[in-house]
């Protein structure tokens, strides 16, 4: 990025965390929206919920069957006709039990598989929607947000929404089935014993929910602390030379220990919360079981209920224990889906500021004339004044325009307006008389290319990087562009040539090589307007002049704009615009401006090598 943009980045960054303040109503509408999305896969969602109901029904029959089996045995012991019948019934019960278990297993499989499948299908659609949105959102949005936050939304928040169906919604059905019908069955069998058997449910459900919500809050805090730790380590390792140069290892260890301590103490706290909770839940569960055994035992002795009934109560409790303990996870899943959904939907609902007007025609390049008419511009989120004021100039096909000026004078901004990275505040920019806001973005950006100072290289081969804008290009064209950008010889020197992978995870190129690659990449588009935004700063003067002469061949077909600090990069231009505080303050050829003796001349004197007599000029100015 150029210095113009670095000034902007200082302002506080917008964030997608507005959702924190959202109330219940908002949360509910988000959950509704996610639910509706889940039912876009009606078949799978229906199968999941149906299977949940059936599986839990089978689940509920198991304790009954077990109780029956015990009773049958007891009755059979008494012998006689009833005993014989009971003995026969035993076999039936066993077979029923086997059948119920098998069916429960199968329906649980259906339930789990389809509820996950719904989530994965939702995840797939959301991923695409996110990707598309991120690609389309305009520069001003991307300026205002930290890329890390955006990645969090696209990864973690999306995950929270995706998990909603299986971890929150389906569980509601499961739990209401088990607890509701189970409670009915128990209480209708024996009121007191039923209540006792269920007595652990409210406590465990409440504890588990409260704990999960607390763990969630501390989890976010822990992530924050861990990211500080990560940063300390990463900066230390990346800047290890600075650390060693200042003999600051002790200082760095202190930094590490502070960050590490803060994370480890919270981690311990979290262990404490979790453990206190699980032990309390287990205790309360077993306490209820003890009560059931006690009261139930007395009832068995007094002949009110059978041993089988008592067994079915106890079995039922063991079955219910797990889902009730996981109630907290369900509550947590709802909370997570609601906050994650809020952020995710906020991103997906954003208006794309810069887009095609309805029915916009394609750009038609005839004369190839670029025209700025009274252009004014201020960055949307900055309180500062206009960055550009009343900029007017015209550039014809074949012309080269140089733009120069002190840092922050608006040079780069001017360059960014032509491909509509931002829209002008006032005035207009036209190409052959067509306002660039009235034509399709696609046709505009194919004709206007800006070569950035620090352009992003993709982690792929050099060939793919050069052909980025025209992936179907012939190999020979790629090589020609690379030759023009003075990159070809370097590439041929690499062991794997054009197949060499560059970018973040590939071979690292020097600043100058990266710039040459991005020039080659831009040339591939055959633009009608080509803008160099300080994009030769890291290329040595001689190579730059070779690039310039290579491009002279095509220069007749296009408008060339050169933004640069180094005057030698633009001295040859047909016209030079000197900018200051967002205005064009001087304009003319190099010779004219030197003769005029204004600001351009002062800059020139600063840059050319001072003679032996004036050797201190630069230091005393």
């Amino acid at each position: 990025m150029s210095s113009d943009t670095t000034v902007r980045a200082v302002k506080p960054s917008a964030s997608l965390a507005l959702a924190k303040a959202a109330g219940w109503g908002k949360g509910l509408s988000i959950l509704t929206r996610i639910t509706v999305m889940a039912f876009r896969h009606p078949w799978q969602a229906g199968a999941a919920i149906g299977a949940t109901l059936i599986a839990s029904a089978f689940q509920l029959t198991i304790p009954r069957l077990l109780g029956q089996a015990v009773d049958n045995t007891q009755v059979a012991l008494t012998g006689g006709a009833a005993g014989q019948a009971a003995q026969d019934a035993l076999l039936t019960t066993a077979l029923l039990l086997l059948g119920a278990s098998v069916l429960r297993g199968i329906f649980t499989l259906v339930q789990n598989y389809y509820s996950e499948a719904v989530g994965h299908h939702m995840g797939y659609r959301l991923r695409l929607a996110c990707y598309e949105k991120i690609q389309r959102l305009s520069f001003s949005f991307h300026d205002s947000i930290h890329s890390g936050d955006l990645i969090t939304v696209g990864l973690l928040d999306l995950e929270g929404v995706r998990m909603y169906f299986s971890t929150a919604l389906v569980r509601v059905f499961l739990l209401s089935m088990l607890i509701g019908i189970g409670a009915y069955l128990l209480i209708s069998t024996d009121l007191v014993l039923g209540l006792l058997a269920l007595s652990f449910v409210p406590f465990v459900g409440w504890r588990s929910s409260v704990t999960q919500l607390r763990l969630r809050a501390t989890w976010l805090d822990l992530q924050e602390r861990l990211s500080v730790l990560t940063r300390v380590m990463e900066e230390n390792l990346g800047g290890i030379r600075v650390v060693r140069a200042f003999a600051a290892q002790n200082h760095e260890m202190e930094k590490f220990d502070a960050a590490s301590q803060s994370a480890v103490s919270l981690a311990h706290q979290r262990v404490g919360i979790r453990v206190a909770n699980t032990s309390a839940m287990t205790l309360s569960f077993f306490a209820s079981m003890g009560l059931v055994l006690w009261v139930g035992g007395l009832k068995v002795i007094s002949g009110e209920i059978t041993v089988g009934t008592l067994t079915s109560f106890l079995t039922f409790m063991t079955i219910l224990q797990m889902p009730v303990r996981q109630l907290g996870l369900m509550v947590n899943a709802f909370a997570r889906a609601s906050t994650c959904g809020a952020r995710l939907f906020e991103l997906l609902d954003l208006e794309v500021a810069i887009r095609d007007r309805k029915g916009a025609p394609e750009l038609k390049v005839t004369e190839g004339t670029l025209c700025f008419e009274n252009v004014g511009f201020a960055y949307p989120s900055a309180e500062t004044n206009e960055v550009l004021t009343n900029v007017t100039f015209e550039a014809k096909r074949g012309e080269t325009i140089g733009i120069v000026g002190p840092p922050g004078s608006g040079k780069s901004t001017l360059a960014h307006l032509i491909p509509r990275f931002y829209d002008v505040g006032s005035g207009r920019i036209t190409i052959d008389g067509q306002d660039i806001r009235d034509i399709t973005l696609q046709s505009l950006r194919r004709k206007v290319v800006v070569v950035q100072q620090d352009s992003f290289l993709f982690t792929t081969t050099i060939e793919n990087n050069i052909a980025y804008g025209d992936p179907w290009a012939q190999e020979s064209r790629i090589e020609r562009a690379s030759e023009s950008a003075q990159l070809h010889n370097y590439v041929l020197g690499l062991p794997t040539g054009y197949e060499t992978v560059v970018g973040e995870r590939g071979v690292s190129l020097s600043g100058g090589q990266r710039q040459r690659l991005s020039i080659a990449r831009a040339l591939m588009l055959r633009p009608a307007v080509m803008v160099f935004d300080d994009s030769t700063a890291a290329i040595d003067a001689a190579t730059e002049s070779r690039i310039r002469s290579a491009m002279r061949r095509y220069a007749a077909d296009r408008v060339t704009l050169i933004v640069a600090h180094r005057l030698s990069s633009l001295m040859h231009a047909d016209r030079i615009l000197f900018m200051e505080d967002g205005r064009i303050v001087e304009s003319g050829t190099h010779d004219e401006l030197i003769a005029a003796g204004g600001r351009y001349k002062a800059l020139y004197d600063l840059q050319v090598r001072p003679g032996d007599d004036g050797r201190d000029d630069a230091l005393t100015a």
């Binding site: 045995t73 649980t108 789990n112 598989y113 060693r244 140069a245 262990v271 993709f458 090598r609 230091l619």
Partner: protein, 632 residues
């Protein structure tokens, strides 16, 4: 609804053209995730970290055993209550109460044991995790720079995070698996004791499950890994889209990228569905086996009860145990993967911990006094990162106290190596480097570092306030001193224009400042360090002329009253130096001030006369030409 896509997926494949030269996202081949199941060497190394906490670990194991015992006893109590308290004919309140009392005692023990076990294991695992990480980080502070240069920061970070985390998982689960094993054996023993035949029959379901798991595990794991991998591919592509969005938009690649991303997202969907199938297929198998075991207990057990060979309570206890005994098998087979992963991670961790530390203080190292004269001398120094290919060949020179010397020469001539040697980043192979008259190998690294301030070519700043960056490790530097330094180098004005002045937080690596501004802050940092000797590698990147002017002024200030060694690129800096040393291919070829060298008519005057404003602007071939011309 906005999750409806605005763009139709364009067909980029089936339009008769050959496939485009285009990909989204990159994929690094993952490191080996699974290692040997058991590697005694690695276990020993890890144990060294656990050892300080061994009392806690022993206690935790004891608690796990107690906990498991209670899991076994509870069904037995129920059984006893049924058989001896509730049977028609010999019902007994006393027995029932005793059973309830026993039950209460058991659940209290259970409570204490589970609390103790989880607290201890969780706490120790966290502590060990941080200890391992600290040991590695601290080791990395001392290993040689040449090793650090060869190693990607990202790789080290994945050691410090991913690998350390999988050790934590391993620690937590291994204590728990002690419990699982005990529970499994306990259930088997109790069942066989209660009724040998019925027990044997019921347990026959166990090997079936084992065999099924053994066949299932490798396939399932493959499928889980595929899901994991496609996930990280898709996430990588999303991250790329975010970081490269400006390039994507300016090259009009949105449509193609969308189609390519769709492929990755779809692959992710498919592998996840397949992984879900693998994960869920075990459910009906386990459930059916459970059902089968229960049915067996009812039919066979029931028959034995009728033959008076078995009590009803035993049958009930069996039914309870059956519901528990598949759990340990499930977690034990999972533990297998955890072990393998931990061994692979442990292997990588020990590799980092075992990187030798080349440069250490000599046992009798002296402290370099701040009162030393500040001279620097190279005596017949031979040095190469690879000893077979020396970068410096018999270089000798002396920089007198207070003198500024410019090091000049083409890329690869050995300038940067000279700079590193003064600070003893590396040790020389021959000859010696003297600072203040002492061989740097006889001094403590810490005291040496405090007397040498270094400014690197690429200014590197840390996240934090401007103030903290300028004073860096000089914790006693006052605010006045920091501001004074900033003023001296001309950074004060732009710092005051930042929203919070000196308390403004700099983004990662000072991202919200321009290169020139970062340079000035690193100058101020060197000034605060207030060392006798300043070693500076001038920035080569093109900085706008206005900031450039400030930097030149600051440089003069910085060198005032110090011994200066500057790797100079700008002619202005070079001419200002008291002396110029010209290096070529690791040899010192000339030295003297500007006027003397111009008369010398060697490489320096040749380069100077080429009329470039900076030596870096001279194309390499021209330098080569001048150099060979001079050599002949």
């Amino acid at each position: 609804m906005s999750e409806e896509l605005e763009t139709e997926r364009p067909d980029i494949r089936e339009d008769g053209r050959r496939p485009p030269r285009a990909v989204v996202g990159s994929h690094r081949i993952e490191e080996e995730i699974f290692g040997k199941v058991f590697d005694s060497n690695i276990i020993r190394r890890i144990w060294a970290f656990v050892n300080p906490y061994r009392t806690k670990i022993y206690l935790a194991v004891a608690a796990v055993l107690a906990f498991t015992a209670m899991q076994l006893i509870i069904p037995l109590i129920i059984r006893y209550a049924i058989d001896n308290g509730m049977q028609p004919g010999n019902a007994s309140h006393t027995v029932l109460y005793w059973c309830i009392a026993g039950f209460a005692a058991a659940i209290l023990v259970n409570f204490v044991a589970s609390y103790a076990q989880e607290t201890l294991v969780g706490g120790v695992a966290e502590d060990v995790l941080f200890d391992i990480r600290r040991a590695m980080f601290s080791h990395l502070q001392r290993v040689s720079l040449s090793w650090m240069d060869k190693t990607e920061v990202g790789r080290l970070m994945s050691r410090l995070q991913g690998d350390v985390n999988s050790m934590q998982e391993f620690l937590e689960t291994s204590v728990l698996s002690v419990g699982d094993i005990t529970l499994l054996f306990g259930i088997v023993i109790v069942m066989l004791t209660l009724d040998f035949k019925l027990g044997l029959l019921t347990l026959s379901a166990l090997p079936v499950l084992f065999i099924v798991r053994i066949f299932w595990l490798p396939r399932a794991r493959k499928s889980f890994m595929a899901a994991h991998e496609t996930n990280s591919i898709a996430n990588g592509a999303l991250a790329e889209a975010i970081h490269g969005v400006r390039a994507v938009q300016s090259m009009d690649r949105e449509r193609i990228n969308f189609a390519l991303y769709d492929d990755k997202a779809r692959a992710n969907l498919m592998t996840h569905l397949s992984a879900a199938r693998y994960a869920q297929v075990m459910v009906p198998i386990v459930d059916s086996l459970t059902g089968l075991a229960m049915a067996l207990v009812i039919v066979v057990g029931g028959a034995r009860v009728l033959n008076q060979a078995l009590d009803v309570g035993v049958m009930v206890a069996f039914l309870f145990y059956i519901q528990r005994f598949f759990d340990p098998i499930r977690s034990l087979t999972l533990q297998y993967s955890v072990m393998q992963r931990a061994m692979a991670s442990g292997q990588r961790l020990t590799e980092v911990l075992d990187v030798p530390v080349d440069i250490q203080d000599a046992p009798d190292a002296k402290t370099l006094s701040p009162d030393m004269d500040g001279s620097v001398e190279f005596r017949d120094v031979v040095f190469g990162y690879n000893p077979k290919h020396p970068v410096l060949k018999h270089v000798s020179f002396k920089v007198n106290p207070g003198e500024t010397v410019a090091l000049v020469g083409p890329t690869g001539s050995g300038k940067s190596s000279c700079m590193s040697l003064i600070h003893r980043f590396y040790d020389v192979q021959q000859g010696e480097v003297l600072v203040g008259g002492h061989d740097v190998r006889d001094l403590t690294q810490d005291s040496l570092g405090r007397q040498i301030a270094m400014v690197l070519q690429e200014p590197y700043l840390f996240t934090g306030t401007v103030f903290d960056n300028i004073r860096y490790h000089m914790k006693d530097a006052s605010r006045e001193k920091v501001i004074e330094a900033a003023k001296a180098v001309g950074a004060h004005d732009f710092i005051m224009r930042l929203p919070e002045g000196y308390d403004s937080i700099l983004g990662q690596r000072g991202g919200n400042l321009s290169l020139g501004q970062r340079q000035l802050i690193s100058f101020a940092r060197a000034l605060v360090a207030d060392a006798k000797i300043l070693v500076l590698d001038e920035a080569t990147a093109n900085i706008d002329s206005y900031t450039e002017m400030l930097i030149q002024k600051a440089l003069v200030k910085l060198l005032e009253g110090r011994t200066g060694l500057v790797i100079a690129h700008r002619l202005a800096t070079i001419r200002e130096a008291d002396r110029i040393i010209v290096l070529q291919n690791g040899e010192l070829i000339e030295s003297g001030n500007h006027a003397a060298l111009m008369k010398n008519d060697k490489l320096y005057s040749k380069l100077y006369n080429l009329n470039y404003s900076s030596f870096d602007d001279i194309p390499e071939d021209v330098i080569e030409e001048a150099a060979t011309e001079q050599a002949t």
